[in-house]
Symmetry: C2
Subunit: 386 residues, 2 copies
């Protein structure tokens, strides 16, 4: 076996996977673990979506759809943009993909050419930089901090821009920080990316999980950007692997060709099921869940700040708190390790999200119900005040 | 919009997609089209698999599985290899993927590095060469002909090998020719690939659709090769998008990391449904379908040979006839066009599969029932004898 594997070496492992594996091992030994590491809502897929999925199977909707997706679903998403965000998007600009990963892969296959570079915020979702590397392009991670709401700024983009830069990836709401960009701030980023001659990819996969301000979409800014979205988080369809991409009209034929080759089409039963994602019954259920997430956020932020973790802002979206743990005199990896081993609480260390400040932060996901979060906080307190 | 799209330009369009689009347009005008272009069985997903899918949804099995796949499904596939092919494969070597496309993508992300080359037969499945190009590697298409059963030979591999060659992709049964390699012939290919210092990827996605000889698997040859398979064709689960990869043990940690980034995991409902693919009820149904495909093959091969298409062998697998149409005094693209426009029969021209001999062949799929095939033959005869 003499074959080298350079690409695999470029991709960092997810440290949370070791935490998760160790947590599962401990659970198998009968140890109770509080999970605050998982980026997946604890809620099941809404009932109407499940019913639509069952109906699709009963009707035998199991053949391939076109590579761009089921026309009815593309139309339903366009209608959703119009109704909820007051923005008119032609269904022809919408590509249904196997998860948001498939959507980002399409954009990168199209535009992140060999040895070009792609700007993104650090901290950020690790798959984004890894997918850029797997495209043989270079991710440029621009350090952002609480001072700039953990988001890219026009000045930061200008200063990080290189001759070979083609794309900027912006995530709002952000994973891991939950921070949200206003439409005005997004517009300023778009302007500077345009001026530099690149294109913007806006990752909106946590859209709808917004607290306070109503959610918006970068699509209101114009037709010259890419928006990635997903049925996973807000719509509660993680395991179905279904997302979408909105692209400039002129890019659709090329994306169609790439989709045919990269994945043929997204799952047919999932696409039929997702048609029920926009029904009033589902909408009401998702609003109940959103309120519950907000309640958890408020509880957990207060409780962890009370223990000495520093947040200093109230994240306006997603279901994460990215907390500064430098007050405890150990790096975040050591703390995460001890939280699991000694307090039986699983969390994600910051180095999964950040190459610039890997030791200072821990991500807490509030994807467990509030009683479990309380139990987690009780255990963390026990460890830190021991 | 000044961004260039070099990668999209490297990927050839599927000509059959234009045929298909035109056929749909004609159907919308009320014209009856006989479809012999579609690489998808006309049979629905077997009932037991549908039932298992519904049950999974009723139970709420909609959360992420591990990136390598549902442990029970990896074990079921290992048991299938043992029971049907008498080969012991550790479940730990099996990666569940979103379709065979996902499996090939994993292998290429791992091993088809920038500017390396990958050997494959021409004619062959166009996604294979396109995915190699999207990996920034170079597909080397080795011309094969009826004389070598439309498959690579050791001599052809040696003669095409370059210093930068890393991988050889072998497809058995083949798309578009339906030709099948014996285990002995596969062994000879493996030996020469080993001797040259590369690795072999065997695409077995039509495995089980074998006529005459019982199917085999390259996994019987040793542990140092990759095998790609799928629930799409033999198991009738096209739209579910589910496949698998068997890899050398030592590659699994790297593949796990790549899968986490490229697609997180395959569809959870599909994985649960696929557990029923190995049940006796499904097995019996699939055997009935296989016999029906064989009957169609025999009918269609005789009938088209009777019209002057040249085959000269009886393909031992898949559901395609790749027929030499040079007797008709026009290139295959013109003939395919006229078959659609004048005879209302949709077929796939050879240039989708071949860069070396794009004009000489047409692929007929026998994925329609025998009465429709008869109607298609009647129409083709009408055109050719007009």
């Amino acid at each position: 076996m003499t074959v080298t594997t350079v690409r695999a070496g470029m991709v960092a492992p997810f440290h949370v996977m070791r935490i998760l594996a160790d947590a599962r091992r401990m659970e198998a030994q009968g140890i109770d673990i509080v999970h605050m590491e998982v980026g997946e809502p604890d809620f099941p897929t809404p009932a109407a979506i499940i019913r639509a999925g069952i109906e699709a199977l009963e009707k035998g909707n199991t053949h391939y759809t076109p590579a761009l997706g089921l026309p009815a679903l593309r139309e339903a998403i366009a209608a959703y943009y119009l109704q909820r965000f007051d923005v008119g998007i032609s269904p022809g600009r919408i590509v249904i993909t196997p998860g948001a990963s498939g959507a980002l892969q399409l954009v990168l296959a199209l535009l992140a050419e060999q040895n070009s570079s792609v700007l993104m915020a650090d901290p950020g979702y690790p798959c984004n930089r890894n997918l850029v590397r797997l495209s043989d392009a270079v991710p440029i991670q621009v350090p952002v901090s609480r001072d700039d709401n953990f988001q890219l700024t026009p000045a930061a983009i200008v200063s990080a821009w290189r001759d070979d830069t083609r794309l900027v990836i912006v995530t709002t709401p952000s994973n891991p920080t939950g921070s949200v960009l206003t439409l005005k701030a997004l517009g300023a980023l778009r302007q500077v990316v345009c001026d530099e001659g690149g294109m913007m990819v806006v990752d909106e996969i946590y859209q709808g999980l917004n607290y306070g301000e109503a959610p918006t979409t970068a699509l209101k800014l114009g037709n010259d950007l890419f928006v990635i979205n997903s049925f996973s988080k807000y719509f509660g369809m993680t395991g179905w692997r279904l997302g979408w991409l909105v692209a400039p009209e002129a890019m659709i034929p090329a994306l169609d060709k790439l989709a045919q080759n990269l994945f043929l089409a997204a799952s047919t039963p999932a696409q039929h099921a997702a048609l029920a994602a926009f029904e009033p019954e589902t909408e009401a259920e998702l609003e109940r869940r959103r309120c519950e997430f907000e309640r958890r956020r408020d509880y957990l932020a207060d409780a962890l700040e009370g223990l000495g973790f520093r947040l200093g802002y109230r994240p306006a979206g997603a279901f994460y708190l990215y907390m500064d743990c430098s007050a405890f005199g150990m790096d975040s990896d050591t703390l995460a390790r001890r939280l699991l081993d000694e307090a039986h609480v699983a969390v994600t260390p910051g180095r999964d999200f950040s190459e610039h400040a890997p030791d200072k932060y821990i991500r807490f996901a509030y994807t467990a119900d509030i009683d479990r979060l309380k139990e987690g906080v009780r255990r963390i307190k026990g460890l830190l005040t021991a």
